[in-house]
Every structure is written in structure tokens, then in C-alpha cells.
């Protein structure tokens, strides 16, 4: 069995790829499938990665390309019903009394176009700089900033429209 050595630099990125994919897609199984596909591509093309360049943005670029393909294909393929889908449907975290209700975040995120969801998650969850987010999406920084603004404002409206009581409702 070919197992990757534990010190391989890609390994440290796997949890981040998984967290991002989970937030982007919602469904646990589909998200891990995306990560798996991304890693297979990454392992086989690692020799193409330039030493010293940003490994994280390289990996996220691969994932974005695969995700874009999957989104395109999904429109042509009948929907699949995941075996276990804790992601979007059932909130798994306890309700928070302070700040924003996490279950509402899930629901609101799914209402955003993917390109806005991506930048919100890359910057807000993965802590990427605007430059890194732009590189991993292959778009100019200005595009990242405008998507970020539109996406966050849309979320604010969605959550505000729901109103404070609804905001904390357990779905």
C-alpha cells in the first residue's frame, strides 16, 4: 500500500480542505468526496506544484475546479440522496444564545450563489487574505471584494428578515 508519509506538507492541509468543503457543500459525504477527488489530483500532480509557492491556494484551486465541474454536472444528473446527511438539514451544534444562531447560518448560506459563499468561507472561515482567495479562485482581488460585500450583505438581510426570534429558532 502506498501511504503518504506523515510529514508530507499536503497532510496538514487536509483538515482545512474538509472544513471548507463541508461548509461549502453542507453534506458531509459529498464534501468528503470532493476533498478525496481533490487530494487524488493533488498527489498525482504534486510535482507540478512549484516549491515556495503557496501550497494552500494551489490545493484550493484544484478543489474549486473540481467543484465547478461537479456543479455543472449536477444540473444534468438526477439528484442523489445521501445516505447520511447531517450537514444542512439537521443542526448538530447546540443553539447559541449569543451571536448568530449557527443553524440559521447554514440555511442562509445555502441561499447564496456559490461564488459568494466561496469568498465568505475562504476569508471568514479559512482566514485567507484577499490575495490568496483571489488566487485560489482565479479571479481578480476586486472580484473577491465585491463578492464578499454582496454575499455578506445578502446574509445580513436574510438573517435580519428572519428577525431575532426566528434567528434563534431551532430548525
Amino acid at each position: 500500500m502506498t501511504r503518504v508519509p506523515p510529514e508530507h506538507p499536503i497532510i496538514a492541509q487536509i483538515p482545512h480542505l474538509r472544513r471548507y468543503a463541508r461548509a461549502l457543500i453542507g453534506d458531509r459525504v459529498l464534501a468528503d468526496d470532493l476533498v478525496q477527488d481533490c487530494l487524488e489530483r493533488a498527489w498525482s500532480r504534486f510535482h507540478l506544484w512549484r516549491e515556495g509557492s503557496n501550497l494552500r491556494t494551489w490545493l484550493f484551486t484544484i478543489m474549486h475546479n473540481l467543484h465547478a465541474n461537479a456543479v455543472r454536472n449536477a444540473t444534468r444528473r438526477p439528484a442523489t440522496v445521501p445516505v447520511d446527511a447531517p450537514g444542512v438539514i439537521a443542526p448538530t451544534r447546540p443553539a447559541q444564545e449569543d451571536g448568530l444562531e449557527v443553524a440559521s447560518i447554514d440555511a442562509a448560506l445555502t441561499q447564496l450563489p456559490p461564488d459568494q459563499r466561496q469568498v465568505i468561507l475562504l476569508v471568514g472561515l479559512e482566514g485567507m487574505s484577499y490575495q490568496e482567495a483571489a488566487a485560489s479562485l482565479g479571479v481578480p482581488i476586486g472580484t473577491v471584494m465585491s463578492r464578499l460585500h454582496r454575499g455578506r450583505e445578502r446574509l445580513r438581510q436574510l438573517l435580519a428578515a428572519a428577525g431575532s426570534p426566528t434567528l434563534r429558532r431551532v430548525k
Binding site: 501511504r3 497532510i11 483538515p15 487530494l39 449557527v102 447560518i105 464578499l148
Partner: protein, 260 residues
């Protein structure tokens, strides 16, 4: 106080730590007088925090083993799950061993690519460790060359030869046995030139379906340069802290000798 107007973009940059320190003070002062904008900033911050609360637990989930096996490819996602579901159903009737096989079955479908990464990384690491050794750079010295070759060939399961590089100014110092990333045996030969520069040749068995490759060059993260290639039964990685051209010259000489 009069400030340059704060743009929407700057509010986000303020939240995301992308704003230069000078301007940050401006924005803070401006927010104090603009409750509507301040509320937006608060929301953006809460949003980021909520995302972390919601998704950070994924970071501590154990990584599925399949993600660490680059050469094993599963079926396309949807098909794979259907097959897995079907096999689980069957497996629940036939028990342990079969369950094990059935669970594995959809995973090992085709071998897509051989990844040279572990080899170069391993070669570069072994180089860094042993080339720096003063007293014990090799396990068996070149004075026992015949024994060294017999021993390593036995452990590798195939005849191994150490190329001779004297004409290029490098003498064989000896070699050692190393573990390969796949659990098998690998070996390393070490050479030295008159000025004490050391070069190591790492050899491991190539997988059966591995194709011959051209020379590839890579600088590993520890700064060691590696040329690697696959020729018939073996994968080779030549490591040194040498300029690319000089290392390539050696790699070519080795390739020519070993492919005779």
C-alpha cells in the same frame, strides 16, 4: 474631525485585517459616528465567529484513511456510494471476512498514478541525515563492495548495482539499507568528491505497473535537490546540495551505466 469617506470595501478589509494600520484608526473613528456602519461591522464579525463555531469541529475529525492513499482511486462518488450501500447490505448477511472484502472492493478499483513524491521526499530526508554524518555515513563501506551489493540485492529482492562515478570525480563510500515508504526495502549509496561534497543515490523497487520516466528535478523542502526517474524495476532519486546542471550530469551518467 473630518475623515476621508470609508468605502464598503474598507469596512470588510477592516474586519478581515486587510486594512493598513494608519487607515484602521480612521475607520474606527468614523464608525463611532456611524452606528449603521458599526452594526454592519458587528454583523460581519459575528458572521465569521458563527462560521467557526459551526464548522471548526471538522478540523478535529480523524482524516479518513482513503485520503492518505494517493494511488487508490474509488469509483466516481455517486456510483461508489451505491456500490458501497449494496455491498453493506450483502455484507450484513455474510459476515466478517466478506464484509471486509466487500467494504474494500469499491475502493481498490484502478491505480491511477504513481506518485514520485514520497520517493523524492524520502530520498532528500535520507540524504540530509546521512550525508551530514562524519563517522557513520554508510552502513557498509565500499571496501566491502561485493558484500554490500549481495546484501542489498537480497533485501531488495532484485540485483542492485552501485554505479561508479570516479570519472566524474565522485568515489563510492558505501551504502545502507533504508525502509521504503511502501513498507518494503530501499537502499542508499553515498559518493563523495575531493572537496567533500556528498551525493546520495536512493533506490527503491518500482511498482509493477510503473512506467519508465524521464528525469524529473525537484528541490525538496529541506533544500536538497533531487533528480528522480524510473527505469525498469527501480525508482532512483539522486540527491545533493548541488546546482541542477551538475546533478543532472551525474544523473545521466548513472542512468547510462545502470541501463546497460
Amino acid at each position: 474631525m473630518i475623515h476621508r469617506p470609508v468605502s464598503d470595501g474598507e469596512l470588510h478589509a477592516f474586519v478581515d485585517g486587510e486594512l493598513e494600520a494608519v487607515r484602521r484608526a480612521d475607520v474606527e473613528a468614523w464608525l463611532a459616528d456611524n452606528p449603521e456602519a458599526a452594526a454592519r461591522v458587528t454583523f460581519y464579525r459575528q458572521l465569521n465567529e458563527a462560521l467557526h463555531r459551526r464548522y471548526d469541529h471538522v478540523l478535529s475529525e480523524p482524516v479518513p484513511p482513503a485520503m492518505l492513499h494517493p494511488s487508490r482511486r474509488r469509483l466516481p462518488a455517486t456510483m461508489g456510494r451505491a456500490a458501497l450501500a449494496a455491498s453493506l447490505l450483502v455484507a450484513s448477511f455474510v459476515g466478517g471476512w466478506f464484509a471486509n472484502q466487500a467494504l474494500r472492493a469499491p475502493q481498490i478499483v484502478e491505480r491511477v498514478v504513481q506518485v514520485p513524491v514520497p520517493m523524492t521526499a524520502q530520498a532528500a530526508m535520507a540524504h540530509a541525515i546521512y550525508a551530514a554524518e562524519v563517522r557513520h555515513p554508510v552502513e557498509v563501506g565500499a571496501d566491502e563492495e561485493a558484500h554490500l551489493m549481495r546484501w542489498l540485492s537480497n533485501r531488495m529482492g532484485r540485483e542492485v548495482k552501485a554505479p561508479h562515478l570516479q570519472t566524474l570525480g565522485y568515489r563510492l563510500m558505501g551504502g545502507r539499507l533504508l525502509p521504503a515508504a511502501d513498507g518494503g526495502a530501499a537502499c542508499q549509496f553515498m559518493y563523495e568528491n575531493a572537496s567533500g561534497t556528498r551525493v546520495t543515490l536512493f533506490i527503491r523497487n518500482a511498482d509493477a505497473d510503473q512506467k519508465e520516466t524521464a528525469f524529473h528535478f525537484k528541490v525538496e523542502s529541506n533544500g536538497v535537490s533531487v533528480f528522480y526517474w524510473i527505469d525498469r524495476h527501480f525508482g532512483y532519486a539522486l540527491s545533493a546540495n548541488l546546482p541542477r546542471e551538475e546533478l543532472l550530469r551525474l544523473a545521466r551518467a548513472i542512468y547510462d551505466q545502470l541501463s546497460l
